[in-house]
Structures are given as structure tokens and as C-alpha cells.
Amino acid sequence: MAGDWNDEADALLERAEHLPYGDTKTRILEEAVRLADLHGDIDRGYALRGELIDAATFGGAADKVLVAFAWCRGQQKKDPKRFDPEEMLWKQKWVVGLMDEFPSISRQQIAAALDDLEQGFARVNAGKRAMLKLRYLTAMDMGEVDEAERLWAAWIQTPRDHLTDCRVCELDDELDHHVRRGEWELALRKARPLLDGRQFCTEVPHQTFGTLLYPLFRLGRMEEARDCHQRGYALIAKNREFLATVGEHLEFLGLTDNLERGLALFERHLGWALEHASRRDRFTFYTAAGFLLGRVVSAGRATATLRLPRDFELYQSNSTYETRALAAWMDAQSRDLALQFDARNGTDRFARLRQRTEALRTEVRPFALEG
């Protein structure tokens, strides 16, 4: 029996390497980790968790990222020579970045994790840029507007070093910033190399297309918006990591009155939302789904035929749903999550995000995607 399991773990690892990011890849690596643990091989368990952290980070399983890292952290504390924390700093950056997506993780815990990471960076004499971006993103997520502005300015002018994210990922974050400020043209100009396929990374331009839908819509550049929707959705349709981006597409479909297609996407991805680890991504999806379903109700459709997961609270075995009830349920989820986030953050960002979506009703401008 001994020896066998290593081969089996190797085989799992090889299969995982050939899979795109997503549930299957994540599950396979979890299985490999369990094998190592079962046989008490801590070194292998540590190395495999490194792989699992990557897969879960890009496969939409934030809870698994945090748990796998916590285990590795335990080993680092026990034996820092054998398990050098420095080698995991890159991943730790993702880990800390994910924390604010769980309202049950407190402000103090997030602040402590940021400080702890900053000390880790300082120990290896890394520059400040990566840390500034992470603090900026966290402040922004948590609705600390002034602090976020200050950190943005500091981040942008700090030199790059070996621990900063790649230029493409940084550019993608810059786009979010411009879009948030309503700088549509600027965002689109900066996004050009990403849209032309000249630059890309693991999640770029996957997310970028979703980010740019609203700016293009606002500028009336509808053909480009349609391209972004079609190209973008194809990139994200099979990985739950992009649940929030699916939300952006739902919003766009509602705004342009493509309700049939909107419902098809809603039907396909509600299952992700129901069990998604990231509460923040759930919020984005539910808020957009509420908007879309609200549009369906306004269009006079009382019922819709949808195949929704059996564990959905409103599940109907005859597949017939009252659109008003669905819209209300999505809205209630969104409101509940907004309350949790705003309570934890001590700001009103999520309430304001809901107001923004609420106001979209007045902006609807039909545009046929086909033909």
C-alpha cells in the first residue's frame, strides 16, 4: 500500500494540470491533499495545498483557499525552516485579499492579516507597491472612500518589484477604478490592449469584458458592448470564480431588454450563487438578478418556465415560477447580504450599490443582441 498512494497523488496532480480552473480541478487537488494527509506526509500535504490554493483562488472557492492556507500557516509556525513563509507570500496576497468577501470575518481580523502580511513583505525587503494595492482594494471593498482614494494615489506612484501583480492584472484593477468614477472613455482607452488580445492573464480579459459593459452602454457604443458580452460570457460561463462577472452580464441584459437571454443566464448560474463561498460575489449576482427579474415583471410576465436547482428555497417541480416572487427573493438576499457587509464594514457601500442598481430602471434602452 505504501508507495501506491504517491503514484495516485501524482496521477491526480497530472490530471489537475490539464484541467481548466473550476470545480473539477479544485476537487481533484483536494483529493490529492487528503491522500497526503491520510498517509501523514506533511511535506507533500504542504506542496499539494500550494497547488490547491492556486486552483481554488482561480476556481471560485475562497473558503477552500483560506482553510488550505491556514493549515500551511500552522506548519510554517511550527517549522519555519522546513516551510519557509517567504515562498508563500505571493499566495498569501490572494488569501488576505479574499477575506473581506466574508462578512463573518471581522474588521480586526482583516486588519491583523494585512499587517501580518506587510511584516512578511518587509522581512524579504519587498517594495510597498503590492501591499498598497491590496490595502487600496480592501479599503475600496469595505467602502472607506477617502482612504481608498489616498491609497490609490500612493499605489499608482510606487515602483514595481518582484511581489507586485503583473501589469495586466494591475491594469484591470485600474479599469475598475475609472469605471467606478464614471471615467468611461478613459477606461475604454486604457482597456484597448486587453480587448485586442495583446495582453492577457489568468482572469484578464475574462473580467474586463464584464467591467466594460456598463461604460459602453452609457456611451451608446452598443455594437462594442454586444461584442464584450458575447466574447466575455464565453470566457466565464464555466467557472464559478466569475459569478460576480455573470452578474454584470445579467445587469447588461436587463438594461438592453434582452430578457430571454438574461433569464437563460440566470437559470444557468443561480446554482453557483446558492452555494458560492464568496458572499460578496453572491451579493453582486443577487442584486443584478433582482434587477433583471424586476425588468421581467415590469414587462408584464407573471410567470417564467425555469429549471432551477432542487435545493433552491422556491423550487417548483413543474418549473413554473412567479417572476414577482423570484425578484423579491433575490432582492431579499441582496438586502440581507448588504446589511451584513455594511454592519461589518461600518460604512454604507453595499446600500449604495443597491441604490445604484435600483436607479438603473430609468436607464433601460433596448438593443437587440441578435441580427
Binding site: 481533484i28 494527509d37 491520510l38 463573518s104 446554482g271
Partner: protein, 618 residues
């Protein structure tokens, strides 16, 4: 008059040969490209101009260097244009500049000529412009960077360009008739105008066929034969079938060949692509949708944008739409097969199941058509989903292999058929199944669901296990594990640890928390907070097992508790669940306790110091 280039020509040639070109043989490609561009430019002026390209190899009888003369009847160059291309050469010292210049006719012409210096020391270009009346010019360039331009001693009779290359001594191998012929066919075999090669007075028409997919054939079977022969020639492989490809976006045409064997994993295939009939790459891999790894293809694109390395195309909107159309062509082939030759499709599925599963995930119509033919591994052997559904009304599957192992044996003994959906795409397909077929029920299955299929105890039996349940409940509560007693097969299995993915994740989180520092232990607690379920799992005792029945009768509660704990740990290990530190302690203490009990009372009696093995056993 003599001139000198503005920059070190050596430097530019060095840059080209080391960074831009993979082999000296590309000089043929560059000259073909120049001639093609020139002919196309002339066709803009005179739409009926057919265009011809002539190559002549002049081998010296005395063993001196061979000269290659490359003649086109394209648009030719004016004096002003000659100076422009020379200026381009001067500016071409950066790779980016080179790439940018390639998009313009004159720029490409200059860069193309430069590549010739990889194989010769001196170059003579004789050219006459087709735009108005211009004299024939002669440009002589040397590798040391000097050149001169003058009116030609022998004017050309018609517009066009002639390039004379005299092989450098160490490059003679690139000038043999065989090498030149094969390079021309390699790079320009699909060019839509005739290319002639003259050697020793004999002229050969090299590219008689053009693109084989554009040719006309007597019959479909002849077309099929010709295309499969072409596929064999290009890829050295006997393909099963061919599929015509066409996309308006990017102006793409070509043919896909169905691979005779399943590729290792879902490796992206390397395709051969031509840009405007000139070979661009033999290893383009972003031309087809992700699922289409059951074919290799040859295509020509007239309007896609090549990357700097010229290995593939930029991921832009045009390529995206082209890929969509090519995907539609492949899908249409499969859909037709499904309707008209289902057996052929089933053979294809047997060979390329992974590719077919990937397409089914991408395409609902294809999913509906083929899902019942797709093969799955089950606890009762391999079967198609159709066979499975005919036998069972509920489709049960496990998303992981260890999940499957945990249930396979016991499930099979109860006559339950479970699909092992740990293979690539299987879980995603089965999750999609009820969305597309509302009448079908498909549910993930785990050891948590198993006890539902087990027989309940009678009232008497329930009475008989009352104290076992009470003791076990209390013993396992710290491990967040509930207790149940049922009857199930096989009878040799005393207990089953039943849990689902959520439970397994909570076990993992618990173990991570045990070892982490306060900061991250707190974070893990935060992650778990609010997630449902107090109990991770259930330990199901098998009343058909004789040991379990004896346990239930043991009067000594401590022995009963110890046995429960041992069975708990054993069932965890059998289910391949890693033990937490506390469970490990349980195992160690329990083993010692059992040994202690077997040794019986000796003079000193049981130890009672609170350490391992301190349980009171009588």
C-alpha cells in the same frame, strides 16, 4: 554612385536571423511574400492581371556559386519607392519597428530583402514600376552595408521585379533544386498564381493544385479521397474523416481532419495556418473552440491578425467570431452524424469521448442529442447514460473519486448504481442534465445519502440497541458525529461513516484550525460561521454485523465506549478521511486500552496515572 546604409547592416541581419527568423530558409518565404504583395498590388491596378512567379537556379559548371533569380510580374518599384525601402532598412533596427513596417508594402519589401543577406553577400534587384512610365532601376546591395542605385543596363520588357541572389559558400545547401522546391511548396504551396522553377533548362510548375479544399472534384468520394490524402501528406497521419471549415469573419477557409486516436488529455491541437495563402504557422493553437481537440486542421485566413512571433493570431473580436463559425461547422458535422449516421457518431464518441463531452457542455442542442450515448463509469461497471436511465429513474453520481470509493462497495451491495463522476466533465454534465431534461432527476450522491437506502430496525431491535446508541452519541458528540443503527449489506461491514462534501470540508477546516496560529484559526472560524449544519457526519452501525450486535449487549459501558471509538476511527480510515489530532489520540489510546484489556489483570492491576491506556477495563 555608392551609398552606405544608415545603420550597421550586420546588426540588422543579426537581429533578423536570431530573433525573427527560425532558419535561413525563410529567405524563400520573404521573397514569396514580396512577390505576392507586388502581384496583389498590380491586380489593384489591373484587375485581370493573372500574376506569375518564376524562379531560376543557375548552377555554375565550374562548381562556382549558384545564383537564384526570383522574378515576379507584380507592380514593381519607382525610384522614389526604392529610396523609401532603403530608408526602412535604415530604421529597422528594432524588432517592434520591423513588425510595424511589415504591414506596409514598401516596408515589408525592404525587410524581406534583408533576410536574403542570411544566405548571400550581395543582392541585385532589378525593377520596373507598373505605375506610368518609369525607367528600369537596378539596386545592388552588399552585406557590408554599401549599395548603389542606377538605371539598369538591360531594361525589363515588362513591369515587375527580379531579385538575383548568389549563394554564399557556406550557404550552398539552401540553393539546391530540391531545397528550393520544398521551401517554395512549404511556404507558398497554396498561392493562387503559378510558380515556375527552372533548373538546367527544365521548367516545372510547382504549385499546380492550389488549396485542395477550393479545387473542384468529380464526386464527393473523390473529394474525400483527395482531402484525406492531403491530410496524410501534411500531418503524416491517416485521418478518419474530413470536415470543411469556413468563417466569414477573418475570411477563413480550410479543412479539419478527424484524428484517428484519442489525444493525451485534452491537449490543444497544433494547426497549420496560412495567412493570405502564405504559410504562417504549423503550430497555431487558438483557432478552434476549446472542445475541438478531436481534429487537426489546415486553414487559410485572409483577415486575421498574426502575433509578433507569427505563431498564432491575436485574441481579438474577429478571431472570436471566426472561432465561433469554425465551431459551428464542426458542430454541424457532428449533429448531421447524430441524425444520419448515429453509429458513426457512437464510434467517434468511443474514440473522442472527452471532446464530445466538452462540446455537450458548450452546446445544449448537442447535449440533448448525444447525452444518452456518452459512457460513464458506475458502481456496476461502464455504461452509457441511456442504459443507466433505462434501468434507474434517479441518476446518482459522486463528484470525487474518494467519494465514489466511500460508497461503491456498500452501494453495490444494496443494488444501488452510482456513477463515478470524478472524470473530466462528468459532474458538470450531470449537473446540467436536469436543466435540459426537466423530467430527469440527477443528484449528487455521497455516503451521507447511503443510510436512506438501509433497512430500519424493528421495535425490538431498536430496544436492543438503546444503550449502544446512547453511549455512542455521547462518545462521538465531541467529534460532531451523530449515530444511527440500520441493517445493510455487506454484513461484514460493521459501521459506515457517512458524510457529504460539506462535512468533509468541515473536517478539513477543523484540522486546519487545530494547527494554525490564533490569527488564522480565527479566520477559519469566520469562514465556517453561518454555514449550516452542526453535525458533520453520522456513524451508521450495521445491525446485521455480529460484532455490532454483541457490542450492543455488553454490560460494561467503558468497553462499549472504547469499541464505539475504535469503530469510529476505523470507519474514518476505511473512508479515507484523514484523522484530526484528537482522533489520532483516540486511536492511540484505544489501541493501548485494547491491548491492556487482552493482557488482563496482573498483580499491579491497571495503571491509573491518567496517561494513555489509563482506561479502566475489567
Amino acid at each position: 554612385m555608392d551609398h552606405r546604409f544608415q545603420v550597421s547592416l550586420r546588426g540588422v541581419i543579426d537581429l533578423l536571423s536570431h530573433h525573427l527568423y527560425s532558419s535561413p530558409g525563410v529567405y524563400v518565404r520573404e521573397l514569396l511574400q514580396n512577390a505576392t504583395d507586388a502581384i496583389r498590388a498590380r491586380q489593384h491596378l489591373e484587375s485581370q492581371h493573372p500574376g506569375t512567379l518564376r524562379l531560376e537556379l543557375m548552377e555554375k559548371q565550374d562548381g562556382g556559386a549558384t545564383t537564384l533569380v526570383f522574378t515576379d510580374d507584380g507592380v514593381g518599384l519607382t525610384e522614389e519607392e526604392v529610396h523609401r525601402f532603403l530608408a526602412t532598412i535604415g530604421e529597422s533596427s528594432k524588432r517592434e519597428a520591423l513588425e510595424a513596417r511589415r504591414n506596409d508594402f514598401i516596408g515589408q519589401f525592404g525587410i524581406g530583402l534583408l533576410s536574403c543577406f542570411m544566405v548571400c553577400d550581395e543582392l541585385l534587384v532589378v525593377t520596373r514600376s507598373a505605375r506610368g512610365t518609369h525607367p528600369t532601376l537596378e539596386w545592388r546591395g552588399r552585406h557590408d552595408g554599401t549599395y548603389d542605385v542606377r538605371p539598369a543596363a538591360h531594361p525589363l520588357e515588362r513591369p515587375g521585379t527580379q531579385v538575383f541572389l548568389t549563394a554564399r559558400a557556406d550557404m550552398a545547401e539552401w540553393f539546391t533544386p530540391e531545397r528550393v522546391r520544398s521551401l517554395v511548396l512549404h511556404y507558398g504551396g497554396l498561392l493562387p498564381f503559378p510558380i515556375h522553377l527552372t533548373v538546367g533548362g527544365q521548367t516545372e510548375h510547382l504549385n499546380r493544385d492550389g488549396a485542395p479544399w477550393s479545387a473542384s472534384y468529380e464526386s464527393p468520394s473523390e473529394r474525400r479521397e483527395a482531402l484525406l490524402a492531403y491530410g496524410r501528406q501534411v500531418f503524416d497521419m491517416d485521418f478518419l474523416d474530413y470536415i470543411p471549415l469556413r468563417a466569414t469573419s477573418g475570411d477563413v477557409q480550410g479543412v479539419a481532419f478527424v484524428l484517428p486516436a484519442s489525444p493525451h488529455f485534452n491537449a490543444k491541437q497544433k494547426h497549420r495556418v496560412y495567412l493570405k495563402s502564405m504559410l504562417l504557422s504549423e503550430s497555431a493553437d487558438n483557432l478552434l473552440p476549446d472542445w475541438a481537440f478531436f481534429v487537426k486542421c489546415v486553414v487559410n485566413a485572409n483577415a486575421l491578425r498574426p502575433t509578433a512571433s507569427r505563431e498564432s493570431f491575436y485574441e481579438d473580436a474577429v478571431l472570436e467570431r471566426a472561432r465561433g463559425s469554425l465551431g459551428v461547422a464542426l458542430r454541424r458535422y457532428l449533429m448531421d452524424l447524430a441524425r444520419e449516421e448515429p453509429r458513426a457518431l457512437q464510434r467517434l464518441i468511443a474514440l473522442h469521448g472527452l471532446s464530445m463531452k466538452a462540446l455537450a457542455l458548450d452546446d445544449d442542442d448537442f447535449f440533448r442529442l448525444v447525452i444518452d450515448w456518452l459512457p460513464f463509469e458506475t458502481s456496476l461497471g461502464m455504461m452509457t447514460l441511456g442504459d443507466y436511465r433505462r434501468a434507474y429513474s434517479l441518476v446518482r453520481y459522486t463528484p470525487t473519486l474518494d467519494g465514489f470509493r466511500q460508497v461503491a462497495r456498500v452501494a453495490a451491495a444494496q443494488g444501488l448504481c452510482i456513477i463515478n463522476a470524478a472524470y473530466t466533465h462528468d459532474t458538470a454534465l450531470l449537473e446540467r442534465l436536469p436543466q435540459l431534461f426537466p423530467e430527469v432527476r440527477a443528484e449528487p450522491f455521497s455516503s451521507a445519502e447511503l443510510p436512506q437506502s438501509f433497512e430500519e430496525l424493528t421495535d425490538d431491535e431498536r430496544h436492543a440497541v438503546r444503550s449502544l446508541v446512547r453511549v455512542a452519541d455521547r462518545a462521538l458528540l465531541p467529534f460532531r458525529c451523530g449515530v444511527e443503527v440500520r441493517k445493510f449489506l455487506p454484513a461484514e461491514v460493521p459501521t459506515l461513516y457517512s458524510t457529504d462534501e460539506e462535512g468533509a470540508f468541515r473536517r478539513e477546516a477543523e484540522r486546519a484550525r487545530e494547527g494554525a496560529d490564533d490569527l488564522y484559526a480565527g479566520v477559519v472560524a469566520g469562514v465556517l460561521e453561518g454555514a449550516p449544519g452542526q453535525l458533520h457526519a453520522k456513524l451508521c452501525f450495521n445491525y446485521l454485523n455480529p460484532v455490532v450486535r454483541r457490542m450492543a449487549r455488553v454490560p460494561d459501558r467503558e468497553v462499549m465506549k472504547l469499541s464505539v471509538e475504535m469503530l469510529y476511527v476505523q470507519s474514518l480510515l476505511l473512508g479515507q478521511h484523514p484523522l484530526s489530532a484528537r482522533e489520532m489520540t483516540l486511536l492511540n489510546q484505544g489501541l493501548l486500552g485494547l491491548i491492556d484489556a487482552r493482557l488482563g489483570d496482573d498483580d499491579e492491576g491497571p495503571e491509573n496515572d491518567g496517561g494513555p491506556g489509563s482506561r479502566e477495563v475489567h
